[in-house]
C-alpha cells in the first residue's frame, strides 16, 4: 500500500463546516491561515446557495505563528456578532493555531458574556481526522445547546445526517417531509438544516432517524442525555429503500406503515417508468462506478443495481461513517469491488480497468469521466460545477423518477466527439 495519498475525502474542518453551516443563523469562523478559509468559501460559493455563505476568516497571518492569534479570533467573534447578529458563532481551530496552542476555548469563555450569540469551539486540525469525524463531532457539540423536554411530542422525529450542500439536499428533504407527513409524522429538527432555535429544541421529538449512518454518534449522545431512541435507516434512494425508510420510521414510532399510501406512490413511479421504458431497458446491465460518501453511496449503488439493473463494477466510499463496516456486510453482491477511502490514483486505475460506461460521483471525477468518455452523473459531494435551484429530489418516490431521468439524459445527451469510436 502506498504512503502517498491523493485523497477522495477532506479533513475534519470541512466535515465540521458542513454540519455547522446547516444551522441557518450560524457564522463559522475559520481560525487558520488564509488557504483554509478560501477553500471553504469556494466550496460553499460554488454550490447552489451562493447568497447564503456564512464562513469568515479570523484574519490569521504568518506573523501570528510567533505570538499567537487569540486576539484576532476575539475580534472575529466580535465582528461576526456585529455584522451578522447570528444565533450561533462557531470558531474552528485549524492546524496552525492548534499546533501553536491557541486557547480558543479560553477566548470563547472570556467573550461569551458580552456576545448574545452562542459560542461554540471545535478543534479541527487537518491532521486530526477526516471530514466525517468533523461532521460527527460538530453534531455532538450541538447537543450541548439542546434543551431537555419532559414529555416530547409524539409523532415528531428528528432527521439526522442531512448535509445541506449535498446534491439535491433541499429537494430530498422536501420529499422526505412529504412522505412522512402523509403518514402523519412531523419532522421536528433536521440535523443539520435548521435554525439554531430549532437545534435547541431537538429534544422535543420521540425518535431520532439517522439517515445512512451519518450522525450516529449524535443520536447516541441524545439517547443518553435526553432519552430519545434512535433508528438507522437507509438514505431513501429508489422504491425499495424509500419503503424501507418509512417502515423503519413508522415502526420506530410504534405504528404500522400505510400500505395504500405506498401503493399509490409506487403506481406513480410505475407510470413514469413506463414513459421511458425503452431507455431503461437500454440502460440495463450498463457497467458503472459509484463514488461517494458512506451515508448515501451504499444505498445509491444498491438502487442502481437492484432497481435499475445497472452493473455496479466499483463502489468507492470516499468518506466513512460509523456504520460503514456494517454496510459492507449487507451488499448482497450489489456493490462490485468496494474501496474504502481509497487513494484516488489507485481508485481511478481500478475504474479504468473495470470498463465502466458511466460514473456516479462528484465534480472531482470530471477528469476521469473525460478520460473514459463516460458521462458523469453528479450525485456526491462536492459538486461545484452543477447547480440546483428547484426542488427536484433524488430521494424518495419522486426522486426515483428524477434519478431515472437524470441518468437517461446523461447518457443520451453525450456529445458526438465523446461517443466516437
Amino acid at each position: 500500500m502506498s504512503l502517498i495519498y491523493d485523497p477522495p475525502q477532506d479533513c475534519k474542518l470541512v466535515g465540521a463546516v458542513r454540519a455547522i453551516h446547516g444551522v441557518s443563523d450560524s457564522i463559522t469562523i475559520i481560525h487558520a491561515r488564509p488557504g483554509c478559509h478560501c477553500g471553504m468559501l469556494l466550496l460553499k460559493a460554488l454550490g447552489s446557495n451562493q447568497n447564503d455563505v456564512r464562513v469568515i476568516s479570523s484574519g490569521f497571518r504568518a506573523q501570528d505563528t510567533v505570538y499567537g492569534a487569540e486576539g484576532r479570533l476575539s475580534a472575529a467573534i466580535q465582528h461576526s456578532q456585529e455584522y451578522f447578529e447570528p444565533g450561533l458563532i462557531a470558531a474552528l481551530n485549524c492546524s496552525a493555531p492548534v499546533i501553536m496552542g491557541d486557547d480558543i476555548d479560553g477566548v470563547a469563555s472570556v467573550m461569551e458574556e458580552g456576545i448574545p450569540a452562542a459560542l461554540m469551539t471545535l478543534a479541527t486540525g487537518g491532521y486530526e481526522g477526516p471530514a466525517w469525524v468533523g461532521y460527527e463531532e460538530a453534531l455532538v457539540k450541538f447537543t450541548d445547546y439542546m434543551i431537555p423536554v419532559e414529555r416530547p411530542s409524539a409523532n415528531k422525529v428528528n432527521l439526522i445526517g442531512i448535509k445541506t450542500d449535498d446534491v439535491n439536499a433541499a429537494g430530498d428533504l422536501t420529499e422526505i417531509r412529504r412522505i412522512l407527513k402523509d403518514h402523519g409524522i412531523e419532522i421536528n429538527t433536521v440535523l443539520a438544516d435548521a435554525s439554531f432555535d430549532e437545534i435547541k429544541s431537538a429534544p422535543d421529538a420521540s425518535l431520532n432517524v439517522v439517515l445512512g449512518g451519518d450522525g450516529l454518534e449524535c443520536a447516541k449522545v441524545m439517547r443518553e442525555r435526553f432519552g430519545i431512541p434512535y433508528i438507522t435507516t437507509p438514505y431513501p434512494f429508489g422504491v425499495k429503500k424509500t419503503t424501507e425508510f418509512i417502515e423503519k420510521v413508522t415502526n420506530g414510532l410504534g405504528r404500522e406503515i400505510e400500505i395504500e399510501l405506498i401503493d399509490r406512490e409506487v403506481e406513480l413511479v410505475r407510470e413514469g417508468v413506463e414513459r421511458v421504458c425503452m431507455f431503461l431497458q437500454g440502460l440495463y446491465d450498463m457497467p458503472v462506478a459509484v463514488i461517494g460518501e458512506s451515508g448515501r453511496a451504499f444505498d445509491l449503488a444498491e438502487f442502481l443495481s437492484d432497481e435499475l439493473g445497472l452493473n455496479v463494477k466499483v463502489l468507492a466510499i470516499s468518506g466513512k461513517n460509523y456504520l460503514t463496516p456494517d454496510r459492507l456486510e449487507d451488499g448482497n453482491g450489489h456493490f462490485g469491488n468496494v474501496l474504502i477511502e481509497p487513494d484516488r490514483f489507485e481508485m481511478n486505475d481500478l475504474i479504468k480497468r473495470a470498463g465502466v460506461s458511466a460514473i456516479f460521483g462528484s465534480t472531482f471525477e470530471k477528469h476521469l469521466s473525460s478520460e473514459l468518455k463516460a458521462p458523469l452523473i453528479r450525485v456526491s459531494y462536492p459538486v461545484i460545477d452543477e447547480v440546483r435551484i428547484t426542488d427536484s429530489p433524488y430521494a424518495g418516490f419522486r426522486g426515483t423518477l428524477h434519478l431515472c431521468e437524470t441518468i437517461i439524459n446523461a447518457v443520451i445527451t453525450q456529445n458526438i466527439e465523446e461517443i466516437e469510436e
Binding site: D6, G35, G39, Y83, G126
Partner: protein
C-alpha cells in the same frame, strides 16, 4: 474564436469570474499558488507535505475555479507525525511519487503542519533527489516575502534557486544570444496573448527563447537561463534571482518600481499604441536593438493605425464611463479607440482597510492624471452610489458604461448599455498594436446590444457602495478586510508597497 472575440472558453471562464475572491472576501493560500505553477508545467507533479485536507480542499483552484487540480498527492500527515515529525514520510513520499507518476519534476509543497513542526524539508529533498530520476524542488512560501501571489512566486523562485540556477552549472548554459523569454501568469492562454509581441520582437531581430506558460515542460524551464532577458507582467522574484545568478536581465511590463520613482502614470499603462510602443522600445534598448526597433515600431504602428482609423470610425463621439484603479481596461486604449471618457469612476472601498488615505488619493490622482494625458476631461466620481453614477451618466449623455457583469444590470435597467471589462482584460488586453483594434470591434458590438430593461438580476438588492455585491457578500467582504488588516494596523502606502515589491524578499 469568433469575430467579436468570443469563444466558449471566454464564456466558461466568465461564469466563474464573478466570484468575489482575491482580496475581496478571501485570499488563496500559498498551496494554491504553488499548485497553479506546478499544474502549468506539463511534466511536473506536486507532492503536498501535509494532511488530507491540504490536498483535497486545494483541488478547488481559486485562480481557475472551472478547472480543479486533478492530481494532488499528499504525505497524509496525522497527529503522530505532528509529534514525531514527517520527514520519513516525505522521503518515502518523494520516492513513491516518482514511481507512480514518472514526472520530470516533483514540487514538494509544505503546509501549516509541516512548516510548524520544523521538518527539514530541504535536507530530505536534497537527499532523496539523487535517488529518483527527476528533479525535486521544495516550496515553503518563505522565499519571496510578501510578493504576491506568494505560492506562485515562491514555487517559481524555488525552481530557479534549486534547479535552474543552483550553482552546479545549470545556470550557465550556452546562451541563445539576442533572445528573450516571455513569461506570463499561467491563467488563460499565454501563447495567444504573447503571439503578437513575439512577432514584433522578431522583426526587431530579437529572438524569443521561451514563452511560458504554453505547454511548458521541464526541459523548457532549463532553457530559460539561455536568454538575455526575462519579460514578465509584474515584478517576479525568480527573475531577479536569475538576473543575479545567471545574468539574465529582467523587464517588467507594469513598471511599478519606476512609477514609485518617477510618478509617471503612463508607466502603469503599457497597453495601446503609445504604451506598447514604449514597452517595445524599452525592451529593444535593453537588448541593444534600439536602432532596429525604431523602424519596426514605426512600421507596425503605422500599419495598425491605418486599420485602427477604419475600426474606430463609428466610435467617434461615443462617450464612455470608465472605471479607474490599478487594474482594468487601460485609458490609453480608449484614447486609441477614439471614444471620449466622459465619466471616470474610482472605487476605493476594498482598498480602504489596506491602504492609507494618502495611498488611495494617489491612486485616484494617478487615474485623473492619466485621463488628462490621454486628452479626456471626465467628471470624476469617487465611491459614488449607483444613483449618483446614473445621474452623471445621463447628464453627460454617456453611451456606454464599462461595467463588469456583476453590476451591468444596474445600468442596463436604466437604459444604459455596458461593456464587460473583465473578459477583455483576461483574454484580449496585451502589449501590441492589434489590441486597440479588437477593442474597437468589441465596443461597437456592445453599442449594438439591445436595451435590457428587465434583467432578473435587478430583482436582487445590492450593496450601496459595492454595487457588484449583494448586501450579504458586502458584509463578508467588509468583515474579511477589517479582520485581516485593522487588528494589526498593517496599512501600507503605495510607495512602501511598491518599494517592497521591488526590494524583494522580506527575510
Amino acid at each position: 474564436m469568433a469575430e467579436n472575440g468570443s469563444s466558449f472558453l471566454t464564456s466558461f471562464v466568465k461564469m466563474y469570474g464573478t466570484l468575489p475572491l482575491h482580496g475581496i472576501t478571501a485570499i488563496p493560500g500559498k498551496i494554491s499558488g504553488a499548485l497553479m505553477l506546478t499544474d502549468a508545467i506539463e511534466d511536473a507533479v506536486p507532492l503536498i507535505h501535509g494532511p488530507v485536507g491540504c490536498a483535497f480542499q486545494r483541488k478547488v483552484n481559486p485562480f481557475k475555479p472551472h478547472s480543479p487540480f486533478h492530481t494532488t498527492p499528499c504525505t497524509n500527515l496525522n497527529d503522530t507525525d505532528v509529534v514525531y515529525g514527517g520527514e520519513e514520510k516525505l522521503e518515502q513520499g518523494i520516492r513513491e511519487t516518482y514511481e507512480r507518476y514518472h514526472p520530470n519534476l516533483i514540487m514538494v509543497i509544505t503546509t501549516c503542519p509541516s512548516d510548524l513542526i520544523g521538518d527539514d524539508v530541504e535536507a530530505v529533498t536534497r537527499e532523496v533527489s539523487s535517488e529518483v530520476g527527476c528533479d525535486v524542488v521544495y516550496s515553503t512560501g518563505d522565499f519571496v516575502g510578501r510578493s504576491k501571489p506568494v505560492g506562485y512566486q515562491d514555487a517559481f523562485y524555488a525552481i530557479t534557486d534549486q534547479m535552474l540556477c543552483n550553482g552546479t552549472g545549470n545556470g550557465d548554459p550556452e546562451r541563445n544570444e539576442g533572445s528573450v523569454n516571455i513569461v506570463t501568469f499561467p491563467i488563460h492562454g499565454a501563447g495567444i496573448k504573447v503571439a503578437e509581441m513575439a512577432s514584433v520582437l522578431g522583426d526587431m531581430e530579437i529572438g524569443v527563447n521561451k514563452v511560458c506558460f504554453d505547454h511548458t515542460r521541464v526541459e523548457d524551464l532549463y532553457e530559460l537561463p539561455k536568454a538575455d532577458l526575462n519579460i514578465t507582467d509584474y515584478p517576479m522574484e525568480w527573475a531577479k534571482l536569475m538576473d543575479e545568478r545567471s545574468d539574465v536581465g529582467c523587464y517588467e511590463i507594469l513598471g511599478w518600481g519606476r512609477y514609485s520613482e518617477e510618478k509617471d502614470p503612463e508607466l502603469l499603462s503599457p497597453y495601446g499604441i503609445s504604451g506598447s510602443s514604449r514597452v517595445f522600445m524599452e525592451i529593444a534598448e535593453m537588448m541593444g536593438k534600439d536602432g532596429e526597433a525604431e523602424e519596426v515600431i514605426e512600421r507596425r504602428r503605422r500599419d495598425a493605425e491605418e486599420r485602427l482609423s477604419k475600426a474606430r470610425k463609428d466610435l467617434k463621439g461615443v462617450k464612455i464611463a470608465a472605471i479607474g484603479g490599478l487594474h482594468g481596461v487601460g485609458l490609453n486604449l480608449f484614447k486609441d479607440a477614439g471614444v471620449d471618457v466622459s465619466v471616470l469612476i474610482c472605487r476605493t472601498q476594498i482598498m480602504e482597510s489596506r491602504l492609507t488615505e494618502e495611498a488611495i488619493k494617489e491612486i485616484v490622482d494617478m487615474n485623473l492624471n492619466l485621463a488628462e494625458i490621454c486628452g479626456f476631461d471626465p467628471e470624476a466620481l469617487v465611491n459614488p452610489t449607483i444613483e449618483e453614477e446614473i445621474k452623471a451618466i445621463k447628464r453627460s449623455e454617456t453611451d456606454l458604461v464599462i461595467a463588469p457583469s456583476t453590476s451591468a444590470h444596474l445600468y442596463n435597467r436604466e437604459g444604459v448599455r455596458t461593456f464587460d471589462p473583465t473578459s477583455f482584460v483576461i483574454h484580449h488586453q496585451r502589449v501590441g498594436f492589434e489590441c486597440p483594434i479588437e477593442l474597437c470591434q468589441m465596443l461597437k458590438g456592445a453599442l449594438r446590444t439591445p436595451e435590457r430593461r428587465t434583467p432578473l438580476l435587478s430583482m436582487l438588492k445590492h450593496d450601496s457602495q459595492m454595487h457588484g455585491l449583494t448586501p450579504h457578500w458586502a458584509k463578508l467582504s467588509r468583515a474579511f478586510n477589517l479582520l485581516r488588516a485593522d487588528t494589526i494596523g498593517d496599512r501600507v502606502d503605495v510607495d512602501a508597497d511598491i518599494d517592497r515589491a521591488e526590494r524583494g524578499p522580506d527575510k
